[in-house]
Symmetry: C2
Subunit: 217 residues, 2 copies
C-alpha cells in the first residue's frame, strides 16, 4: 500500500475531475479506460493521471488500463461521496435559490437538508420546497440532521458572523460564496467560490494574452 497519509493539494483537486470522467465511462458502458484517455478528456498528461491514481492504491491493469467501475468506486470512496453528506444552506437570496434548484448536488450525494435566512420576511416561507428557518434553529438542526457541511450564500458583510454561527453549531466544513476571507478554527475546512474573482482571473488571462505581445514593442 502506498503512503496514503498525504495527497498533494493539486492532485486532490483533480480527483473530482477523474470521478466525473469515470462516471461518464460507467454510464456509457465502457469497461476500461486508460490514463491517456482520461488525461485527454480532462486536459492532463497521462503520467499525471497515473501518478494521481496511484496515490489511491494500485488498481490499474498493465496493457489494459483502469476498470471503469472499480475506478469510479475507488474515487467515490476516496472523496467520501460513496455515502450521503447532509448539508444546510444559509441565505435564500439569488445564489441560495440557484443552489436549491441545482439538481446535480443530490445526484452526487449532497443533500441540502435545511435552509436558513436571517430575514424575518423570508422565515416561514417556502422556496423550492424548502421551508426557510430562523437562524436560531441552526444549532439544533445540525445536531438532529447530522449536518456536516454548511453552504454560505450570504452577503459578504455577513460571512464572518454566519461562519462563526455554523462553526458553533458544529459543522465540519463550509462552502462559501461570499467574496471575503473568513477566520476559522483549523478543525473546520472551508472552500470558497468567488464569481467576481473568477471573472477577474479570466479577464486577466485574456488581457495578458492580448497585451503581452503588443507591449513588448
Amino acid at each position: 500500500m502506498p503512503d496514503r497519509s498525504s495527497i498533494p493539494r493539486p492532485a486532490a483537486k483533480r480527483l473530482s475531475l477523474y470521478l466525473r470522467e469515470a462516471g461518464i465511462c460507467v454510464r456509457i458502458g465502457r469497461q476500461t479506460v486508460s490514463s491517456r484517455q482520461l488525461g485527454e478528456a480532462l486536459g492532463v498528461s497521462d503520467a499525471q493521471v497515473r501518478k494521481d491514481l496511484a496515490l489511491l492504491g494500485q488498481f490499474g491493469q498493465s496493457g489494459v488500463g483502469y476498470d471503469a467501475s472499480a475506478l469510479y468506486q475507488q474515487l467515490r470512496q476516496a472523496l467520501g461521496t460513496d455515502r450521503n453528506w447532509n448539508t444546510l444552506l444559509v441565505g435564500a437570496g439569488n445564489i441560495g435559490r440557484a443552489l436549491l434548484g441545482h439538481a446535480a448536488f443530490e445526484a452526487e450525494g449532497f443533500k441540502i437538508t435545511a435552509v436558513f435566512d436571517s430575514a424575518t420576511s423570508l422565515v416561514g416561507t417556502t422556496i423550492i420546497g424548502h421551508r426557510i428557518r430562523p437562524m436560531s434553529e441552526l444549532g439544533s438542526c445540525v445536531k438532529e440532521l447530522r449536518v456536516r457541511i454548511g453552504i454560505m450564500a450570504v452577503p459578504r458583510d455577513a460571512a464572518q458572523v454566519v461562519a462563526d454561527q455554523l462553526v458553533r453549531a458544529g459543522v465540519s466544513g463550509l462552502l462559501n460564496f461570499a467574496s471575503r476571507r473568513v477566520e476559522l478554527p483549523d478543525t473546520v475546512r472551508i472552500l470558497s467560490v468567488d464569481f467576481t474573482g473568477s471573472l477577474e482571473r479570466l479577464a486577466f488571462e485574456i488581457h495578458a494574452a492580448e497585451g503581452g505581445l503588443a507591449e513588448s514593442a
Copy 2:
C-alpha cells in the same frame, strides 16, 4: 512595463485577492498597507505577497509598505478591470438568474449586456430587467456590443455546443458553470466554476482529515 504574460499562474490567482483587500483599504481610508498585513488578511506569507506584487513593478516603499490607492490602481490595471468588460450570459435558468441578480459584477467592471436562452418559451420574456434573446442573435450581439466574455450557465449537455457558438461569435473568454470540460481553440480562454466539484473537494478534505487520509498543505 512588466511583462504580464510571464506571471506565474498561482500568482495570477492571488492578484484578485490582493485587489479585493486593496479595495477594502481604500474604502476605509487607509493610506498604506504592508505585505505582512495583506498576507495576514488573505492567508498568504508576507514574502509571497512581495514577490507577487513585485511582478507588477516596484511601487512599495521600504519601511512603509504599499500606498493603498496606488496598489489598487496598479492591480486593476494589471487585471484589466480598470476598464469595463462587456459580457453576455447564455442560459436564463437558476444559475443564470442568480448571476443577473449579482450586483458585485458591475461594481467590479463586468457588465452583462445581453442574455440568451435556447428555450423558445423564455425568449422574449424579461428577467431582472433583461430581455431574453434567441441564440440566433449571438453573433451580431457580440459584434455590436463588443462582448469579450461569454458566461455559460447551461446544462452540461449543452456546454460544448454553446461554447462552439460563442467561439464562432468571437468572444475571447468563457466563464463556464457547467461541470463538463469543453474543447476550445487555444486562442480562447476558459475558466470553470463547478459547484459539485467544489463540494466534492470540500468533502474530501473533511473526509481525509477525519479518516487519516490527509491532504498535504
